[in-house]
């Protein structure tokens, strides 16, 4: 099995087109010929950037819990609500389903995301070889679910916009909401910066142009390139042309 990087190829992050780069011009940032997106074999500084955003996210999560995300005023009595307080209010109202959704979005998901991204980053840095598949699944889940934490901020914003009934009741957003929004955005950026392809790289420098070993694989759903192909720099265009010629008939 060969990765694109092992063949000196790069896939465009936007349109997916595969491009072959010439080695001697690696100093200029290459761009996709078709959609002009910047091409990188692996996201640059992936681990460092991901750690940085993750740290920022954890730091922002502390004030998000200490400061109120909103202040409820009913008949003149102001009461600050923290994230966890909002959950208890819902729980006491016996709307358990929504309470659980809020708890998941505001506590479980951010904390799990901190743990998951740190684990993935450490596993890349320590070059774990086991359970790559499961770790990729974990990455996929983190990436998908992270943005849903933003629901808390939107709930606060909607409540604050709606409940402005003069002297009867009033809800105002608190500083905690900004901190929580920052947590969500920072952890999203952390997941975006993390390059999942690093989970599969054998060596740190594997994306230069090492020759990969060949594996037998029979249960392929998509037709994978097996060791029959020679991935010299020269044979690649020929392979490509031959294939194009075949289907052109």
């Amino acid at each position: 099995m060969m990765t694109a990087a092992q063949c000196g190829l790069v896939a465009c992050p936007a349109c997916g087109t595969i491009t072959r780069l010439s080695v001697e011009q690696f100093d200029k940032p290459p761009k996709c010929q078709l959609c002009y997106a910047r091409l990188h074999s692996r996201k640059p500084m992936s681990i460092q950037r991901s750690w940085a955003w993750l740290t920022a996210g954890v730091l922002a999560y502390l004030p998000a819990n200490f400061y109120p995300i909103m202040v409820t005023t009913v008949f003149g009595d102001s009461e600050p609500n923290t994230i966890i307080g909002g959950f208890f209010v819902l729980w006491n109202m016996e709307s358990y389903l929504i309470a659980i959704v809020v708890f998941l979005a505001s506590v479980v998901v951010p904390v799990l995301k901190f743990i998951a991204v740190s684990y993935l980053l450490i596993s890349i840095q320590k070059r774990f070889k086991h359970s790559r598949y499961d770790r990729t699944k974990l990455f996929r889940m983190t990436e998908f679910i992270g943005r849903w934490s933003m629901i808390d901020v939107f709930v606060v914003a909607i409540l604050a916009a709606l409940v402005q009934i003069g002297s009867v009741a009033q809800i105002n957003p608190g500083v905690g909401a900004t901190a929580f929004g920052a947590t969500v955005i920072f952890t999203m950026l952390s997941a975006l910066a993390l390059d999942s392809r690093l989970l599969w790289d054998e060596k740190a420098g594997a994306h230069s142009r090492a020759r990969g070993h060949t594996d037998s694989h029979t249960r392929n759903r998509a037709h994978g390139l097996s060791g029959d192909y020679r991935f010299d720099n020269r044979s690649m265009p020929e392979t490509n042309r031959a294939l194009a010629g075949q289907s052109d008939e």
Partner: protein, 260 residues
């Protein structure tokens, strides 16, 4: 002969430093050597696969990490355009009417979608308000407009500048467009208030819910790969036409010369 969408020739634009394709010379960048269109790399683990024909509705997955490589969608530009335009109209409607109404002991208060942003900025949370404005309104709007900007000219066989930029923008903005999360946020807020006050759903709420469904449908119809494929096919057609036009023009002038 109609070419299938996975035909590598259609998608292929192999270029070499010495001989750029006709009409495309200004796009040529010397850094990149060749475009290999019969291959696809897994975006999650970088494993190379050879593109194969798959039936309509099927999805090709990475054999190593099971990530989606590409799907063969039976898209039609007309349908996608119809859904995209309907979504655009719904977006306008959703922003013209009240979203939610609350009434407590005779006092009524209503909010529109954008009031949530103003509620944040009104209490000094400028940064959060700005970001929320992007997530709820601006980024979804840019994505919708971008889709129309790409599809409408294709439908009319015209070419507008900056298709590549628009395409990339719509791709990169996709995780930051959070209309569906806002909708669920509204539902959570409803449940929170239901016990204390009388809540009414405005027209805008229904329009917004419909907008979310339409957006999901349009994503189901045309994902970024098929959108890009449509663009490539249009370019291919364009190139064929220009080549034909050139040929016939050449023949015409020759005929003119010989007649004279």
């Amino acid at each position: 002969m109609t070419r299938s969408s996975t035909d590598p020739v259609l998608a292929s634009e192999p270029r070499h430093p010495g001989k750029p394709a006709p009409g495309e010379a200004r796009h040529h960048r010397p850094v990149v050597e060749t475009v290999l269109s019969s291959l696809v790399a897994c975006h999650e683990c970088d494993l190379l696969h050879e593109k194969v024909e798959i039936e309509i509705g099927a999805t090709a997955r990475c054999m190593r990490c099971n990530a989606e490589l590409y799907t063969h969608k039976s898209y039609s530009i007309d349908k996608a355009l119809a859904v995209g335009m309907a979504a655009f109209i719904m977006f306008v409607i959703a922003n013209c009417f009240p979203f939610l109404k609350i009434s407590v002991s005779g006092n009524t208060q209503s909010m529109s979608i954008v009031s949530a942003v103003f509620a944040l900025s009104g209490d000094g949370l400028w940064l959060l308000a700005l970001v929320s404005f992007g997530f709820i309104l601006l980024f979804p709007l840019i994505r919708m407009a971008g889709l129309l900007y790409i599809l409408i000219p294709l439908r009319c066989n015209k070419r507008l500048p900056g298709i590549e930029l628009v395409f990339r923008t719509t791709v990169y903005l996709s995780p930051w467009s959070m209309m569906e999360i806002y909708l669920f946020g509204a539902i959570v807020a409803l449940v929170k208030l239901a016990a204390m006050a009388n809540i009414e759903l405005g027209y805008s709420f229904w329009a917004f819910a419909l907008l979310n469904m339409l957006t999901a449908a349009s994503l189901q119809m045309i994902d970024k790969h098929s959108l890009w494929e449509i663009i490539l096919q249009a370019r291919h057609r364009e190139r064929l036409q220009s080549a034909e036009a050139e040929a016939s023009a050449g023949a015409g002038s020759n005929a003119g010369v010989s007649a004279r």
